[in-house]
Symmetry: C2
Subunit: 259 residues, 2 copies
């Protein structure tokens, strides 16, 4: 399989919106898109599979855009489906180019050679993280104090099991911002909000936080919203209006200089 | 001060040698060069200062090249003086563009604006780390198991105090490889070798390790050699011949898959 080779020279850098935003939050959406570039065909998937949660986080980009607007935040999102390369996974993790996702086989990922993996890493993973790194370092060099917040959505039914949690707040090594967000969510919203649900750092879902926030001591959090709550543009906007004050209040509890 | 602007579009990517090397070690030398690109003039320094340890790690590049040859390792080194930008420091650390180093004022760094700091970060820091990241991720994606080893030298007299240690092995969060290197150094050489001397992670000298090794679980170590022991090409070669078996033996104690 030589797919991806033709894209390698330029690759797929992230989309950056509101680059000049003045707010503290840097909002990231690794699973914003279900786009499969032509070099990778359709990965052997049906149209329904290519629109399902396995290919992207439905609603996450709309929610992230609404939050970026409310919070005057820069937004960085990936332009390629997580099934080509999941930018929230390191290149040696099975989930980076998964051969199976939930109950679905991904035929186009079934027999990847090491060279295929390296080509996708070069075409998708590296440009995404180089772009995010540049945004964060530019802000740090200017004396700003960015807080990294990643926006995800999760399916209401997973492996046949319904999920009751509506808003998950996930932390890695530094739990300051996540605990503040959870407290504000409980105080300000009616959402069923829980810490480290439906995933936690033990599930290897905090790669972006570990790569970009931890080495610099930046406050950081991963947010998960159940996707049936952000299934239309109106619902995305309503959730953004609900969560923006939660995030603003939580960030206000942080000292300007991260400890 | 507008220095650096003209270089920003391309910046100063690292020099990569032995890119196709098959050995496990990825050798990094952040302080390989005392070169000050013309955009930054002479930073107000004398010729003697520009050749002193404050501008670079004398002998480190020669040692690193010798180690890379012995170990069949890829070598990545920075082409710009640490006084323009110290690639082993985050952009918000004072030492990234120091106004003072040991007993020397750096006039060209005395009154940097936030924009100056951002320009140097974009021109030197980002290309260096993007380049190193690409080397490491390519190797990880290919199923190799890189070990990150950074090579430094230190001055025998610092703030007027002589230093007895000859070979320092510094660890960050993961001390497996450093402790193995120290044990092999004691067993195989007559060097006065010590752990976390003359610096330790508390001195914020392990930025490269935190940025590139920790998030991926890669074994890693920072090595410091007293620069009077590598003051000539012959001495660099001799030290490389002494330390290469130490590093090879230490890497052999690691499991292939980092824990």
């Amino acid at each position: 399989m030589t797919a991806g080779r033709s894209d390698q020279s330029t690759g797929f850098p992230p989309v950056i919106e509101n680059a000049a935003a003045k707010g503290r939050a840097v909002i990231v959406c690794e699973h914003a898109s279900n786009h499969i570039p032509s070099a990778w065909g359709d990965l052997g998937l049906t149209d329904a599979q290519r629109h399902a949660h396995i290919a992207w986080d439905p609603g996450a980009l709309g929610l992230a855009r609404g939050l970026a607007r409310h919070l005057d935040a820069v937004l960085i999102h990936a332009p390629v489906s997580r099934l080509v390369y999941d930018c929230n996974r390191a290149p040696d993790m099975a989930g980076a180019m998964p051969a199976r996702s939930e109950i679905h086989d991904i035929p186009g990922n079934a027999a990847l050679s090491p060279e295929d993996r390296a080509a996708r890493t070069a075409a998708v993973y590296l440009p995404f993280h180089d772009g995010l790194h540049a945004v964060l370092m530019g802000r740090i060099a200017l004396g700003l104090h960015p807080a990294l917040i990643t926006i995800h959505s999760f399916t209401p039914v997973y492996f046949g099991q319904p999920r009751a949690v509506e808003f998950g707040v996930i932390h890695d090594a530094d739990d300051r911002l996540p605990r503040a967000i959870l407290a504000e969510a409980h105080a300000r919203t009616a959402l069923r909000a829980e810490l480290n649900e439906p995933y936690s750092a033990k599930d290897d879902v905090t790669h972006t936080l570990r790569l970009h926030a931890t080495p610099y001591g930046l406050p950081n959090a991963m947010l998960e919203v159940r996707n049936d709550l952000i299934a239309t543009p109106e619902a995305e906007a309503a959730m953004a209006a609900t969560l923006a004050p939660v995030l603003a209040a939580a960030m206000a509890t942080l000292t300007p200089e991260p400890a």
